[in-house]
């Protein structure tokens, strides 16, 4: 850029010096830096040359890390249920995932509004059993319990039993189904515990 500028400057200076008289030449040379700028005036045909941002697709605004906030819990009216959690639990992860996907798609097709579809943290259990001839506990297996939740809202009271019937009839073996209302406690169980904060709060009160 600088060498371009310099080159431009030199050219300008030479042009001016050739055109003007020697008395004015040093004045033009002094104003050469101001004259040789790259602005394209609005009246010139070169106005707007080099613009390209308007041609690119609009990119989403840079999102800052969203604070994990609880969405408002819908209570529901007399004829509609509020936020309902369809919780599917099983030892088999693939099965429960596929079932959760099926339930989500079913709700989409039946135009039941799906608010959220998430996974609960995995629980691990060690199953120990007492040996027949002995007092020592033997490790039998390490089982992982997986849970998926599909949160729906605005289910009408007449359609609820039909939906439950359909979900039940397609329930695979080993998958435990639980449909309950969404509460704040359910949301809090997904967050990490803060023992220091709780300790300080207990000390304060």
């Amino acid at each position: 850029m600088l060498c371009l500028m310099k080159g431009m400057l030199l050219k300008q200076v030479f042009a001016l010096s050739r055109a003007a008289t020697p008395r004015e030449s040093h004045l033009c040379a002094a104003g050469g830096a101001l004259v040789s700028c790259h602005r394209h005036y609005r009246s010139r045909p070169t106005h707007g040359i080099g613009r390209f941002k308007y041609l690119l697709p609009k990119e989403a605004p840079k999102k800052k890390k969203d604070k994990v906030q609880m969405k408002e819990i819908d209570v529901g009216t007399e004829h509609e249920y509020g936020d309902l959690n369809i919780q599917m639990t099983s030892y088999d992860m693939c099965l429960v995932e596929h079932f959760a996907q099926y339930v989500h798609r079913l709700c989409n097709q039946l135009s039941v509004r799906v608010k959220e579809s998430y996974a609960m943290p995995t629980k691990t259990n060690e199953v120990l059993f007492l040996e027949e001839r002995g007092s020592k506990m033997q490790l039998d297996a390490v089982l992982t319990t997986h849970q998926r939740v599909v949160q729906i809202s605005g289910l009408s009271s007449t359609f609820a039993p039909i939906l439950l019937e359909v979900i039940q009839s397609n329930q695979p073996e080993g998958v435990h189904l639980l449909v309950k209302e969404h509460t704040e406690a359910d949301f809090k169980s997904r967050l990490k515990s803060r023992p220091e904060l709780e300790e300080l709060l207990a000390q304060m009160s």
Binding site: K67, V68, G76, E78, H79, E80, Y81, L84, S90, M93, Q109, L110, A119, M120, P121, T122, K123, T124, N125, E126, V127, L128, F129, L130, E132, M137, D140, V142, H146, S157, T158, F159, A160, P161, I162, L164, V166, Q168, Q171, P172, E173, G174, V175, H176, L177, L178, V179, K180, E181, R190, L191, K192, S193, R194, P195, E196, L197, L200, L201, M204
Partner: protein, 184 residues
């Protein structure tokens, strides 16, 4: 000491008391129990302020979600050195597979359509029943439309592969929860 004039009455320690301003302070300084109370209150206040500051600082940090272990692939599976080499399939085998897949797709489509049809008939039958009920009595209709409070929570175990064995005696044992506890 009803009429006590500070200037007139000389008290015991007056020889080292030069100004009247220091009078109150000196009396308090000498009485030991009063000193403890003041400093204690200050200290307690300072402690409380510090705790409040700490709580504010901790509360500022947004609560984090517990990471789901299901979605984090263990590192040993990211090793690309193990590659499966399958034998090439014969033409008949590929044809058989493709035809089988087509049959399966058709079967599933029919199943799905049948399910959707069943749902539609259920809804239609329900609507008709409600219409008839409305003609019968408005009160019952309104009661039927209302949501059922006793429906949720609704729990159901999945069907089992085989019925429970009669007279099965399970071994004694226990379950130990070894889930990793995440703290912020």
């Amino acid at each position: 000491l009803s009429s006590w004039l500070p200037q007139m009455v000389p008290f015991r320690g007056s020889h080292w008391q030069s100004s009247l301003l220091g009078l109150r302070a000196s009396l308090l300084m000498r009485a030991q129990p009063k000193k403890k109370k003041k400093v204690d209150v200050k200290r307690e206040q300072a402690q409380k302020d510090r705790m409040k500051k700490k709580i504010k600082k901790l509360e500022k940090a947004a609560p984090e979600m517990i990471p789901i272990e299901d979605f984090i692939a263990p590192l040993k599976y990211s090793d690309n050195s193990r590659v499966r080499s399958l034998p090439p399939l014969s033409f008949e085998e590929t044809e058989r597979r493709v035809l089988l897949m087509k049959k399966w797709c058709l079967f599933k489509q029919k199943q799905d359509k049948a399910e959707k049809q069943a749902i539609q008939t259920l809804v239609a039958a329900q609507q008709e029943a409600l219409k008839e009920l409305r003609l019968e009595s408005e009160e019952l209709y309104q009661a039927a439309i209302r949501r059922d409070e006793g429906l949720f929570p609704y729990e159901r175990e999945g069907p089992s592969y085989s019925p429970p064995l009669p007279g099965y005696d399970p071994p004694e044992g226990k379950c130990v929860d070894i889930t990793k506890v995440y703290t912020q």
